[in-house]
């Protein structure tokens, strides 16, 4: 199995695994935010901002995998 085939298998798989993990993480974060918003609707704006900021941190981890995909994409073929 030469390295083109391995790269072609590994990059999308790695991205998928990263996306799965980050999806679960963001789901947990947003779950907590939703509960907090339900308990105290006055703090809606602040909770929403904090939720978005936390989601962007977690999303960054998937983006790192995507960037690796872009970098390695040229090496296939």
């Amino acid at each position: 199995m030469d390295f083109h085939a391995t790269l072609g298998l590994a990059i999308p798989l790695g991205l998928g695994i990263a996306a799965a993990g980050c999806g679960m993480g963001i789901g947990t974060a947003v779950n907590g935010a939703m509960e907090a918003m339900g308990r105290q609707p006055e703090a809606l704006g602040r909770i929403q901002t904090a939720m978005l900021i936390g989601a962007a941190f977690i999303e960054a981890l998937t983006i790192y995998a995507l960037v690796m995909g872009f970098v390695l994409m040229g090496k296939i073929s």
Partner: protein, 317 residues
């Protein structure tokens, strides 16, 4: 005429405005200068080659791109700078002259709203005493990155933030600012950040064995904190770069669908429209994250008493 333009746009998009390398390039929507470069390159190849060599010689860098796309980045960044400066400086001047000359213009009012909003928003993180000192950097970062991201959505525009070197430059600026700021307040307080909060030997309760253990923990913490300090600019730049480049690539792929429709199938619909709105949202969020993290890092590296270990120092995402 339109057909000719569409064909060239397709070639420019598929090749990301270049024709020299054999590797596959990341697709993106054609930008004005990339299109011009591609079109002129077919009619005047010698001159365009000279231009490309000149640009590479100048040292503009665009990893994942070509020398010319690095020049595009700089051109669009300059356009953003000129537009933003003109807008906000004229607003500031109008505000300084005061309401005596009649009702304030919309530019002046908008500038004031923006600055007051940032003052409030970042005051929550930096504290009221510090925010005036650091507001220029943090507020400018937010507005600048927001406008740069939005340029990638405009027709015939390219986002300067889609260039890793560009983002890394901003992150390096933030890194230097944060550390010089912390050092200038008090060098000892700055250096105390590195070992962190260690338990005293008595608390460990292990007697004489506590000393080498504390020493070991101190060395470990110092290494971890140095790594954390180095990772911060890297993660800042990569996060912004990945988001904007991913959005551009998405727009490019869906935009090229439009041209396929034009060629034969007849389904010529701008499929990338919903992603324009997504790109707007993500661009705003990323600009917010960058500037917010800058404010957080400034606060972290200031000397402060009652430093709780792990309070925010585990945040190297």
């Amino acid at each position: 005429m339109l057909l000719w333009l569409a064909e060239h746009a397709a070639e420019a998009a598929a090749g990301a405005g270049q024709a020299a390398h054999a590797e596959q390039r990341i697709p993106e929507l054609p930008s004005l200068f990339g299109l011009a470069h591609h079109v002129l390159g077919q009619y005047f190849p010698a001159q365009m080659d000279t231009l490309d060599n000149f640009i590479s010689g100048l040292g503009f860098r665009d990893p994942l791109g070509t020398g010319f796309s690095a020049l595009e980045t700089v051109i669009y960044a300059l356009i953003v700078i000129i537009l933003l400066s003109a807008f906000f400086i004229s607003g500031y001047r109008r505000l300084k002259r005061g309401p005596a000359e009649g009702p304030l213009s919309r530019r002046a009012l908008f500038s004031e709203i923006v600055v007051v909003f940032f003052d409030d928003f970042f005051g929550q993180i930096l504290g009221r005493k510090e925010v005036r000192k650091h507001l220029p950097l943090v507020g400018t970062l937010f507005i600048y990155i927001l406008c740069c991201n939005t340029f990638g959505l405009v027709f015939l525009g390219k986002a300067p933030t889609a260039n890793l070197s560009f983002n890394f430059g901003m992150a390096l600026l933030v890194f230097c600012y944060v550390h010089v700021n912390g050092l200038s307040r008090s060098p000892l307080g700055y250096l105390k950040h590195y070992p962190g909060t260690l338990p005293t030997v008595k608390e460990l309760g292990l007697g004489l064995l506590g000393y080498p253990l504390i020493g070991f923990m101190a060395v470990l913490f110092i290494i971890i904190h140095i790594l954390e300090a180095l990772i911060q600019p890297l993660s800042l730049s990569l996060r912004l770069f990945g988001n904007v480049l991913g959005k551009d690539a998405l727009l490019g792929v869906f935009g090229s669908l439009m041209l396929i429709g034009y060629a034969g199938i007849g389904v010529c619909f701008p499929w990338h429209t919903p992603f324009l709105f997504l790109g707007l949202l993500l661009g705003t969020i990323q600009a917010l994250i960058f500037s917010l993290l800058t404010a957080v890092y400034i606060t972290l590296w200031l000397p402060h008493e009652g430093h709780k270990a792990g309070e925010l120092s585990g945040e190297s995402a």
